[in-house]
Each structure stands twice: as structure tokens, then as C-alpha cells.
């Protein structure tokens, strides 16, 4: 395919002329040195042998110069050598220059980088990985999230400078990163699209058309592989879905949906927040409390218009503020202006509004809008849009109720659905169920994290989520119980089976998937069956200990039976005999 022979071929093609020149000059010089007579120590005439001559010319032309061999030269020889030095040295320097030029050549470096990348991808062996196209702020967060969850990634982005800058990060040492256009099918293949251990394609660039191209290519080359694509345009989204893209992620839609949740069901919003935050990050405790009333929307671009649409659908009154007359003209009672000045906000009726949404395309404007609005009305519910990752400290300092960051919204959603498909269905259910269900989930999680952190701790870390599958290969421990026809209830899995103390793990079972059946928030007394898939959210060592229970052949059995469970053949034989004896009595 590509790789080594490309490099060899390029080198060969470039080096053709310098090598020919070098060889001609070299052999001509050797011939001259052989035919010229010298004198030996006794003063008799001698000729240099071919070996001596070749050795001398090589040493001379490379400017190493060990001296005159085998005997000191005569004046005639020295005059000839004087004439030979210059063409030889020039031929060497010429070849050398061409080689250096080749190494510095952009095209050659690209070929080198490509073959290195290919080697790195192949070197991943059978580790499963996600192919991430686009290494902008979204791709960057996605890759970090994948690594934090113990998954691997292969990354590609058309912007070479960006790739070089990000590849310096020591966290990505073992992540193959390539600066090449991911819309080219050959590049996707090079990145391992066709490899068995590729688990999915994640498309995150901010160019909708490029995203569409990559989604089509991936689906054509490997129809069975899940594709997660970002798209900011409804038509493109529909197009992607039409050929079977598994998840189309539109940040504006997601944000509008999240905003709707935040406004209509703070509890659902909070639970969703807990479950999609990067594990270990501190979580929001308090529920948001937006009041009902009129909202002010500053900036009616793509972001703003989605929000406005959502507000209108709920029948929430709103006032639009926009600096572009052609945009603000679309809305009734819209105010022309930036919203960064007090008089514009006053005109929009800031004093009697309940909330403000600053979603212009400019971070500094958005910060300014919120700060100005606060001066005028300190009870406002504030939502602010952030575009640039680097401004995060400013937004943290601002302390608005909600910060919407496009790249982060997309990245979190992709991570949630790509790394844990069960979580996606659970979140879906959460949104469509009534508030009561969300309250129940919240109470469970809260009780769990409180026992984990202890009372009085303010900062709760967000949980990790994981899925377990009760089959013989993934969970021999559970299979042992099924084989022995014993009951396996959920409470067994929630127990620390390695500990002598009677302690439960800090985790909550969110969902059991049994064929087409789904059980949400199952009770601890639920009987499990072979082939069940379970979704957990938990803290600390919960996942680690659960894996012990499932992967060790007898820990669960040990816990389920009164005496210690036998580990070995002899032990099992004795145990069976004892069972039979007690049965007879």
C-alpha cells in the first residue's frame, strides 16, 4: 500500500542525478589515481592498487583526509590530486544538499508522517478504538474523554499545524494522530476504518459538508460500523439520517432541548447533568429555579433562533435583541442593538423579565450583556453562550446559571452515546418520563453519593457509568450461579464480595436490558437472568469491585452460599458429596 516503498521511491527519484554525478566523478578519480605512478620507500616506481585508490579518493572527497597512502605522494601525484579535490568535494556536497532538501521537503515529510501514522495504527494490535475525525475543540474534548474512560482513539484532522500542536501533549503519546484530509476515503482507510477493532467513527469538524462526506464514506465502506456525526444544519442532519448515520448530533438542537428541560423540569435537567458530566468532575447540587415570565434573547443567530423557537412552542413570552436589522425584523417587538448597553436592555424591558439569554457569536459581548443585565435586575436567570474554550476562566468567574458551549455540548453527547449505548436509551427515557421518575433516580443517586462522600461534604464528584453483560465470557462469576441453578439477584452484584465486612458498593443500577424488555431503576430484589445487560452509575471503587465479583469464578458463589464455595476440583467433589449426604438426611 503506502509507507516504506513510497519513501524509498521518492528518495530514489530525487537522488538520481546527484548519484550519477557522484559515481562518475568518483570512478574517474580512481582511474586517474591508479594510472599515475608513485614511488615506494626505496624510491622504486609503484602504482596504487584499485583498493588503495578507491580508499584514498573516498577519504579525500568526503574531506576526511587521513593522508597519503600507501607511500607519500610525489609532486606529480599531488598536482593531480589538487585538480581532483574540487569536483569530488562538489559532487559530495551536491548529493548531500539534495538529501537534506528532500528531508526538509513538505511532501516528503507528509509521506513520512503518513507511514508513521499507519505503523502506529497497525501497532495498536487488537485494542479497540474509535476513529475521531476533526481535532478542533470538540474533537479534543472527545478524545480526552475517551482516554479518560479507558478507550483508545485514532485522530485525523485536515489542519496540520493544529495536529502538530496538539500531538505534543504527552497525554496523546499513544494516540495515533494524522494531519490529513479525513474526507478522502484513502485517509480513512489508513486510519483503520476497515480494521476489526474499530468500534465507531466520530465526526466532529465544524464544516457540515465535510461531515456529511465522512459519514457517507464511513457508511459505504463499513455499513455495520456506528457513525456519530456532528451537524448544525437541519437539511444536512436529515441527509445523514437518510443513509443510516446512527447518531446525528446538532448542538443547537441539543441546547434548545436542554434549555427546555432546565425551564420546565429542573429535576430532569439535574439528573441528566449528573449522568453526562465527565466522571469525577464536581457536580451541581442545587436545582435550577427559573421562574415563569418573559425572557430576553440577545442575538438571534442560529443559536438564538433555536432557543426562540423552543420558547415560542411553550408559549413563553420573549423579547429579541439583535444588532442586525434583517434578523431583528423577523420578530415582533424586537429591539435593534447589541444588548451590551444598559439603554438597549431597558428598552427590552429588563426590569420585569425573569431571564436573559446572551447568545451572540462573540464571547466578550455575551459576558458584557450578562454583567450589564445583572446591574439592572439581580433576580434574572442568566444563560450565556461561550464559543472559545480559552475563555473558560472568565465564564467560571461570571457564575451564570447556565453556560452553553457548542463544542462541549457536542462532545459530551457523543461520549455519552458512543461509549455507553445503554446510557443513551436511559437518558431518552428520563426525558420522556414524568418528573416522578427523575425524582426517584435523583434520590437514589443522592443517597448513594452521600454515603460515599460522608456527611457534610460539599463537593460531590460525578459518577462513572458502566455496562455489564451477564454471559459466560464476560461474567464467569455470574455464569457459575446460573449453572448451579441458584438465584442471582441484583443485590448480589451491589455487594463487595471480596470484603469480610458486610459492605455494599457505592453504585446504583439504572436499567436492565433483557432482549427487548427494559427495566428502569430495578429493585435490589430483581432476579437476574443469563444474557441480561445492566447499566450502573457509581463512585469510587464500585466498578472495580463489581468486576471482581463477575470475573472471579467463585466470589459470587461464595457470597450466595452459607459456607465457603469450593474453588478446585477436589473441593467441588467433596462439596457435592456433602450436599448429597445432607439431602439423604
Amino acid at each position: 500500500m503506502y509507507g516504506m516503498n513510497d519513501i524509498v521511491w521518492l528518495t530514489m527519484r530525487r537522488m538520481r542525478l546527484p548519484l550519477i554525478v557522484l559515481l562518475l566523478v568518483f570512478f574517474a578519480s580512481v582511474l586517474v589515481m591508479v594510472t599515475l605512478p608513485g614511488v615506494n620507500a626505496e624510491g622504486e616506481p609503484v602504482h596504487l592498487s584499485y583498493l588503495d585508490a578507491a580508499y584514498f579518493v573516498a577519504i579525500m572527497s568526503t574531506t576526511i583526509g587521513f593522508g597519503e597512502i600507501p607511500y607519500p605522494f610525489t609532486d606529480t601525484q599531488r598536482m593531480v590530486v589538487l585538480a581532483l579535490v574540487f569536483p569530488n568535494v562538489i559532487a559530495w556536497l551536491y548529493s548531500f544538499g539534495v538529501i537534506l532538501q528532500l528531508l526538509l521537503d513538505r511532501q516528503f515529510q507528509q509521506v513520512m508522517a503518513r507511514s508513521r501514522f499507519g505503523r502506529k495504527v497497525r501497532g495498536m494490535g487488537s485494542d479497540s478504538f474509535y476513529l475521531v475525525c476533526g481535532f478542533g475543540s470538540t474533537g479534543y474534548v472527545v478524545v480526552q474523554g475517551l482516554l479518560a474512560r479507558g478507550k483508545r482513539a485514532v485522530v485525523m484532522d485536515a489542519d496540520e499545524d493544529l495536529v502538530h500542536a496538539r500531538a505534543l501533549d504527552p497525554r496523546f503519546t499513544f494516540t495515533p494522530i494524522f494531519g490529513g484530509d479525513p474526507t478522502i476515503p484513502a485517509n480513512l482507510e489508513r486510519a483503520g476504518l476497515e480494521r476489526d477493532n474499530c468500534r465507531g467513527v466520530i465526526i466532529t469538524t465544524d464544516d457540515d459538508h465535510a461531515n456529511l462526506t465522512m459519514a457517507i464514506t464511513s457508511k459505504l465502506l463499513r455499513p455495520s460500523l456506528p457513525v456519530f456525526a456532528r451537524s448544525e444544519d437541519d437539511r444536512v442532519s436529515d441527509n445523514m439520517r437518510s443513509f443510516g448515520t446512527d447518531h446525528v448530533i446538532n448542538p443547537y438542537e441539543i441546547f434548545a432541548e436542554r434549555l427546555y428541560l432546565a425551564l420546565t423540569s429542573p429535576i430532569k435537567y439535574l439528573v441528566q447533568d449528573w449522568l453526562i458530566t465527565v466522571p469525577g468532575k464536581p457536580m451541581r447540587h442545587r436545582k435550577l429555579e427559573p421562574r415563569t415570565g418573559r425572557w430576553i434573547v440577545c442575538g438571534a443567530g442560529r443559536f438564538g433562533s433555536q432557543v426562540i423557537e423552543r420558547l415560542a412552542r411553550d408559549g413563553t413570552p420573549y423579547t429579541v435583541v439583535d444588532v442586525h436589522p434583517e434578523r431583528s425584523g423577523d420578530y415582533e417587538g424586537a429591539i435593534l442593538g447589541r444588548g451590551t448597553e444598559a439603554h438597549t436592555l431597558k428598552q427590552a424591558g429588563i426590569e420585569d423579565a425573569v431571564g436573559i439569554i446572551a447568545c451572540t457569536g462573540d464571547d466578550i459581548d455575551n459576558l458584557s450583556i450578562i454583567m450589564t443585565a445583572r446591574e439592572l435586575n439581580d433576580k434574572l436567570f442568566q444563560i450565556v453562550r461561550q464559543e472559545d474554550q480559552r475563555n473558560t476562566p472568565l465564564f467560571d468567574k461570571l457564575g451564570a446559571d447556565l453556560v452553553a458551549q457548542r463544542s462541549l455540548i457536542v462532545a459530551r453527547r457523543i461520549l455519552a452515546v458512543a461509549t455507553n449505548p445503554m446510557l443513551a436509551t436511559f437518558l431518552d427515557h428520563l426525558v420522556h418520563e414524568n418528573d416522578e421518575f427523575a425524582e426517584k433516580v435523583f434520590a437514589r443517586l443522592k443517597a448513594c453519593v452521600e454515603t460515599y462522600c460522608g456527611q457534610g461534604v460539599e463537593d460531590w464528584p460525578s459518577p462513572q457509568q458502566w455496562t455489564v453483560e451477564l454471559d459466560a465470557s464476560h461474567a464467569p462469576g455470574a455464569a457459575a450461579l446460573f449453572e448451579a441453578d441458584m438465584e442471582l439477584t441484583l443485590s448480589y452484584l451491589l455487594h463487595n464480595t471480596r470484603s469480610e465486612r458486610d459492605e455494599d458498593l457505592h453504585c446504583v443500577c439504572l436499567e436492565i436490558e433483557r432482549g427487548a424488555q427494559r427495566l428502569f431503576l430495578p429493585a435490589n430484589s430483581t432476579r437476574l437472568q443469563p444474557g441480561d445487560r445492566l447499566l450502573f452509575a457509581g463512585w469510587g471503587r464500585a466498578r472495580h469491585e463489581m468486576m471482581w465479583s463477575l470475573e472471579d469464578p467463585v466470589l459470587l458463589l461464595n457470597y450466595a452460599t452459607p459456607g465457603p464455595a469450593p474453588r478446585t476440583s477436589i473441593g467441588r467433589w467433596l462439596w457435592r458429596r456433602r450436599q448429597a449426604d445432607s439431602g439423604r438426611i
Binding site: 464467569p476 464480595t497 471480596r498 470484603s499 469480610e500 472471579d552 469464578p553 467463585v554 466470589l555 461464595n558 465457603p564 469450593p566 474453588r567 478446585t568 476440583s569 477436589i570 473441593g571 467441588r572
Partner: protein
């Protein structure tokens, strides 16, 4: 009280102690090394191996492997000893060979005992 664990630990440690008893002394002095002790170490070591059959955990697999190594070394030592007796006497060279083989088995037995401690720490019940 876990009978299975206790019995296995008993035999593994006994194999180690017997093995050490045989090994200690001048390497080529027949007076310092007792054939009966070598035989006992071999038998006990084999019993320990059999006790580990059928343990499907990863720890069990490593146990079985180390224990088999000890058996192999002791078995070779016993064969050399037996051959020497039937071929006209136990010379210092033979004793040295047998004792060094048992030294290898001693090392394997030490690994087994280390694993035993590790297992006790990993499975806290």
C-alpha cells in the same frame, strides 16, 4: 474457616519446609542430605499440585504453574539420585547435582508461598 484454603496452604508450606531441610548443608556432602526427605518433599509437592486442579481463577492458574515447576525439579532430582544408586554409589558430583535441582524447586516453592500471601490479601474473606 475455609477447609480448602487451609489444606492447600498446609501442603504448600510443608513442601517448602521439607525442601529447605533437604537443601541445607554442604552441597556435595552426602551426609548432609537425606534421601527420605527428598522423597517426602516430592510427594507433598505433588499433593499440593493436585489440590490446585480445577481452580479457574487467574491466581489459581499461576499457582498451578509454579507448583508444577517445583514438582518437575524435585522429580528430576529424585531420578538422578535413583540412577546413581543403581549405577554404583552416590558420588559428591551426583549429590551436588541433586541438591542444586532441589534448590531450584525451593525457589519455586518460595514463589508459591508468596502467592499464598498475595491471595490472602486480594480475597479478604
Amino acid at each position: 474457616m475455609n477447609f480448602e484454603k487451609t489444606s492447600f496452604a498446609f501442603f504448600i508450606v510443608l513442601a517448602l519446609t521439607l525442601n529447605f531441610g533437604f537443601f541445607i548443608g554442604d552441597i556435595d556432602n552426602p551426609a548432609h542430605h537425606d534421601a527420605m526427605e527428598l522423597g517426602a518433599a516430592l510427594v507433598v509437592s505433588i499433593i499440593a499440585t493436585i489440590l490446585k486442579f480445577g481452580d479457574r481463577s487467574s491466581m489459581g492458574a499461576v499457582f498451578l504453574a509454579t507448583s508444577l515447576v517445583a514438582d518437575l525439579q524435585l522429580l528430576l532430582a529424585a531420578i538422578f539420585w535413583g540412577l546413581a544408586i543403581s549405577n554404583g554409589g552416590v558420588t559428591p558430583e551426583v549429590v551436588a547435582r541433586v541438591v542444586s535441582l532441589s534448590g531450584g524447586a525451593l525457589l519455586a516453592n518460595l514463589v508459591s508461598v508468596t502467592l499464598l500471601v498475595a491471595e490472602a490479601i486480594v480475597y479478604r474473606r
